[in-house]
């Protein structure tokens, strides 16, 4: 079923909307949550919470892309469910991602903390300036938590090229954050 039809079910308060959402996007949402959590049970609960959140927010929301809307919610639930200390012990991939992102921060002082809408504005601005290819690779890595190999396979490029693009993009992000007033 297409997004428009599923959204109509939500707007009609037809519970079939959940089933159709699961059929259309359940696997991908679970994959996203599982890559972050590396825990099947927690991932399944994150996806279930996502369906409930979708049910509670559509309407009034009418997202342009249902998958993106759901994925944003699912990622948020998964990260909220993540026990960072335990993840470090288990050496979950998401910990590696945070370490890589740490390299992008020119200054770790608390007073330079960017939060909420301001951080979103900075990141959207940064992403908007990136070439499309770099942006997609960057987001597959740091948004979807894909491995280097998965990104290479998805886009049909070498792992080395993925690494190179990520390296350059992280460097650009560091420059961008610095330009935004985060001092070195």
């Amino acid at each position: 079923m297409k997004d428009a039809a599923i959204l109509e079910l939500y707007w009609a308060r037809d519970e079939e909307a959940i089933g159709q959402t699961r059929a259309a996007y359940g696997t991908r949402l679970f994959g996203l949550a599982d890559r972050i959590l590396r825990n099947r049970e927690d991932a399944e609960e994150s996806v279930s919470d996502t369906y409930l959140a979708a049910w509670n927010t559509i309407p009034p929301q009418r997202p342009n892309s249902l998958f993106a809307y759901l994925a944003v919610i699912c990622r948020r639930f998964a990260l909220g469910r993540l026990d960072w200390r335990d993840a470090r012990k288990r050496q979950v991939e998401i910990v590696t991602l945070t370490q890589e992102m740490q390299q992008c921060i020119p200054d770790r002082r608390q007073e330079d903390r960017l939060e909420g809408e301001e951080l979103a504005r900075v990141l959207n601005c940064f992403l908007g300036e990136l070439p499309r290819e770099s942006r997609m690779i960057f987001l597959r890595r740091y948004w979807y938590a894909d491995s280097i190999g998965e990104i290479a396979l998805r886009y049909g490029i070498s792992e080395s090229k993925v690494k190179t693009r990520l390296h350059r993009t992280r460097r650009k992000l560091r420059d961008h954050l610095e330009k935004e007033g985060i001092r070195v």
Binding site: P63, L123, E133, Y142, I157
Partner: protein, 184 residues
């Protein structure tokens, strides 16, 4: 702010980017040619960024670069020199900025002005960069040359603007100060 903040903060980006990374595909040669043209158009005009690969290893008497583990590079021809420092990638890349001082038939000469990470080069070193004319992979440099050919631009025009070409270093001959490189 730390790496976790950035990973979490990415959850607030525009959903259009999330959708793009999920459904988008990397474009083929036409896209590459556009990128190459952009690279050749003199967007940056001070020098050349040369990516230097991590963990440089000295190999004596290497007859062919095919002897060297280098997942990023498929080499179709060996350089004439046989005593080079060769590098291969196993993680992050290092890079250097080279101020172009003149163009040659095969590349350019220049001076290292900035360097990031450890490498066999130092700031102030004079180098000759040899750009590969052919290669099996679709590198920016190769695309750049294709674009030059396709659009009837000459190498001389390329020289005139002294633009940056971002290229990957794969071999360095310390005797002659020659870098062998191709676009990434």
């Amino acid at each position: 702010m730390n790496g976790e903040d950035l990973i979490i903060g990415l959850g607030c980006i525009d959903e259009a980017y999330v959708e793009e990374a999920e459904t988008g595909v990397l474009s083929g040669p036409a896209y590459g040619r556009w990128i190459a043209l952009a690279a050749c158009a003199g967007l940056i005009v001070l020098g050349a960024s040369v990516l230097l690969r991590e963990q440089p290893v000295r190999h004596s008497g290497v007859q062919s670069l095919q002897d060297v583990e280098s997942p990023a590079i498929t080499v179709t021809e060996s350089p004439a020199e046989t005593d080079c420092i060769l590098s291969y990638s196993k993680g992050e890349l290092y890079w250097a900025e080279i101020q172009v001082s003149g163009w040659t038939d095969t590349g350019f000469t220049g001076t290292v002005t900035r360097i990031d990470g450890t490498a066999d080069l130092a700031v102030g070193d004079t180098v000759t960069v040899v750009l590969e004319e052919s290669g099996a992979q679709d590198t920016d440099q190769e695309m750049c040359q294709n674009a030059l050919a396709d659009d009837s631009l000459s190498r001389n025009e390329m020289k005139d603007v002294e633009q940056i070409v971002e290229i990957t270093f794969y071999a360095y001959d310390p005797e002659t100060g020659t870098l062998y490189a191709r676009g990434e």
